[in-house]
């Protein structure tokens, strides 16, 4: 496996990849759009849903075109930066700022943040 960054640095690989139109573009229907909106807790009107459907279809088509590129042996990219995580020593460094934080909350009682009922 080679990192994607190495792959990209290789002589003009990026330039040589041309995205072709896919014959059968993946389509996303209105039900999919409503489902995605529900999962994201977004209330959308029918008009907005239609716009979203068009935009999402464009995105899916782009992804489909990218899938045509041969990526055998290349490590999947999981971050836009080619670096690895820096670690923090296991030490308590935060002080209690509850009072300050709770001034932002709409409702607080007995030091708890209060929210509408949530029982599963």
């Amino acid at each position: 496996m080679i990192p994607y960054s190495t792959y990209l640095k290789k002589a003009s690989v990026t330039a040589s990849v041309t995205l072709k139109k896919v014959a059968n573009p993946m389509s996303i229907n209105m039900n999919d759009v409503y489902k995605i909106a529900r999962l994201a807790r977004l209330a959308i009107t029918e008009q907005e849903a239609q716009a979203a459907q068009a935009q999402l279809t464009t995105i899916f088509n782009l992804i489909e075109q990218m899938q045509a590129v041969d990526t055998t042996g290349i490590q999947p990219m999981s971050h836009a930066q080619d670096a690895t995580q820096r670690l923090r020593e296991d030490r308590v460094s935060e002080i209690d700022q509850r009072e300050l934080f709770q001034t932002l909350a709409p409702q607080v009682e007995r030091n708890l943040y209060l929210v509408p009922p949530a029982i599963e």
Partner: protein, 496 residues
Amino acid sequence: MTWEIVIGLEIHTQLSTQSKIFSGASTAFGAEPNTQACAVDIALPGVLPVLNKGAVERAIKFGLAVGAQIASRSVFARKNYFYPDLPKGYQISQFDQPVVGQGALTIQVEPLSGNEKPYEKVVRITRAHLEEDAGKSLHEVFRDFSGKGLTGVDLNRAGTPLLEIVSEPDMRSAAEAVAYAKATHSLVRWIDICDGNMQEGSFRCDANVSVRRMGEEKLGTRREIKNLNSFKFLQQAIEYEAQWQIDTLESGGKIQQATVLFDADKIETRAMRSKEDAHDYRYFPDPDLLPLEILPQWIEEIRRGMHESRESMRKRFIEEYHFEPYMANSLVADRDRAVYFDSFWKHYIPMVVGKEDSAVSGANWAMIEIGAMLNLSGLSITQTPITPEAFAVLVARIVDGTISHKIAKEVFGYMWAGEGSADAIIEAKGLKQVSDVGALEKIIDEVIAANPAQLAEYRAGKEKVFGFFVGLSMKASKGKANPTQLNDILKRKLAP
């Protein structure tokens, strides 16, 4: 029709770090609500997570302990769902590139029915990944002005590091599931990555249970029992759930995949009311965190710093100290105890060469005695005032005949109270066993002379009276008579 029960466990162990997995807030248990929830934990805009090295170290330790591959590169992912105790709207977890890969754990199964024999089994571990815990919700505690119930949220627990250990569906009974959970519990404490406190939620199990007809290869549809925080509940929940599934299938029903909760009061499982898309978590790599790279040098460094494994110690106890397997198993259930007695035996063995038989009973006495004292005092074995070496000397004094068990108990009490070494106490208090034949004979003669009626009874064939003489003579010697010698002399003197 016979059925086979198939169980896989997901165990959430809370890692024993000082600070949270992605923030510098404290993880100490029992603090006032929201005093240990910093800006990162409550998800204020603009904050960024920074990974805790201590959490990664503990995950690596676990991987090494179960012989798993440690991923040289692993990725954190967002698991998206909405709940008030998860303020970001996603949990940072790991998905397709976890830090710990496939491993295995050998378990000792104690069947729940008495007539089956204990046996060993290997349970495969699929993976273990790092993730953050959510906060705590308190439902129906508060009401608004109209009387509607409100939920209170305490975010102290949000961001506490967890290692989720996922097993293969390798267990075939509640007993095996309990044995695996116990082995994991004992392992995470052994390697010091989790305090194992189940009341405080440091160790929680989810059980995936399905049933299939005996001989069938395809797995049945599973239901997942959530949040079991005791071994007893784990056993009860699996037994109930498996029976429910069998009954449902036998009466022609079908099992729907579901998440269920265990009701400990009614001892039954119940499906949670959840929306159809509740499990669509839309995982994706967290752009706030770079891939985690673990270099071989770091793994080696951790490996070198690890204690001897439980399995290796168990084997050594059987091979070097000739322990019965059941005894070795019970000794290695707790690392501190195992380390104490390992040291005890190292000092003890050279002192009791040639007296192996009484050495074993002496050591048994030692374990019982110290166990009782620890219970009584509420101390842990690491807090005992008696070092393993000093304790070994005391027990060796029983084996070499210097003192009797009874006196040893007394000396043990003095040692516990900090009065010095066994030898010094025996010397100072004159507790040495009387093995001087002349002195013993004198005591016995006096006892016999004072009890002519019992002597006559014994000589008339009433052998039980022998014990009467033993007791009196021992008492007359203030417990210091060598019991074997005392018996010999008594037998000789009482004979007609």
